[in-house]
Amino acid sequence: MQGAKQEILASHVAAGDVKIIFWPMLDLGPNSTNAAIATFCAGEQDPAAFWRYHNTLFDNQRSVYLANRDYFLTTATDLGLDTGAFGTCFDGDSVRDLVETLDQARRDNNVGVRPTFDVIGPSGEAERTFGSQPFAAFDALIQAQLP
C-alpha cells in the first residue's frame, strides 16, 4: 500500500472517510518482531510517533533486515523520542506480548498473504484484497463501503 498510501491519505483520509490501521505480521524472523516492537514502542510515547517510526522503517527496509538493537534505538533518537523509555519498552515484555497477540489474531482471521488489506464499512463487513494495489483498486473498495 505504500505506493497508493499518499493518494489514500490525500483523498479519503483527508475527507474523513477512512482511517488506516497497521496490523503487524511477524513472519520473517526476529527482526520482523523487533521492528514491530520498536514501532509500537514509539507509539507508546505518541501515536503520531508510531506512524513516523513505521514510515521510517518502511523507507529503510534493507537496513531493517540487518538491524541490531542499536539501529532501533538510534532510529528512536533520530525521531526525537525518549531513548531511555524507548529502550526499556523495547527490552520489556509488554509490547512484545502485544505484537505477538496481534500476530496470532491475524492468523486466526486467516490473514497469511503479505500484505493483506481489509476494507471495512459501517456494517462491519470486510472486503479483502491482497498484495500491492494501485490507488484505483483501493478507491473502488472504499467507495463501495462508504454510506
Binding site: 508510531f50 514510515n55 518502511f58
Partner: protein, 98 residues
C-alpha cells in the same frame, strides 16, 4: 686474461627502475583470465559476508511530512490508527516490516 669487473653505471640503475615500474603500471586492455574472474568473485563474496557482519546502515529517510497532517490515535486492541477516529470506513493494512 684477467677480467675486470666494472661497477655498473649508477646513473642508469634508477632510470632502469623507472622504466620497469612504468611498464608494470601500464593499462591492460586484454580480457581477464578466467582464474582472475574466479578470484574476483570470491573477493566479492567475502566482501558481502563482511558487510553482513557490519552494523546496519543508519536510516536516511525521515517520515514523510504528509502523515503528520492527519489525526492519529490508538485503538482499544492496542493498534494505532491514522485518520479521523469516527471515519465510516476502516482500512486495515496487514504487513510485515521486512
Amino acid at each position: 686474461m684477467r677480467l675486470s669487473l666494472r661497477p655498473p653505471n649508477l646513473l642508469l640503475l634508477p632510470l632502469l627502475l623507472v622504466f620497469v615500474l612504468m611498464a608494470a603500471c601500464g593499462s591492460d586492455t586484454s580480457a581477464p583470465a578466467a582464474g582472475s574472474a574466479a578470484l574476483e568473485g570470491t573477493a566479492t563474496a567475502r566482501a558481502a559476508a563482511a558487510a553482513e557482519q557490519q552494523p546496519a546502515a543508519q536510516p536516511t529517510a525521515v517520515v514523510a511530512a504528509g502523515d503528520l497532517a492527519y489525526t492519529s490515535g490508538r485503538n482499544a486492541d492496542g493498534t494505532y490508527f491514522l485518520g479521523e477516529p469516527d471515519a465510516p470506513v476502516t482500512l486495515i493494512d496487514y504487513s510485515d516490516f521486512l
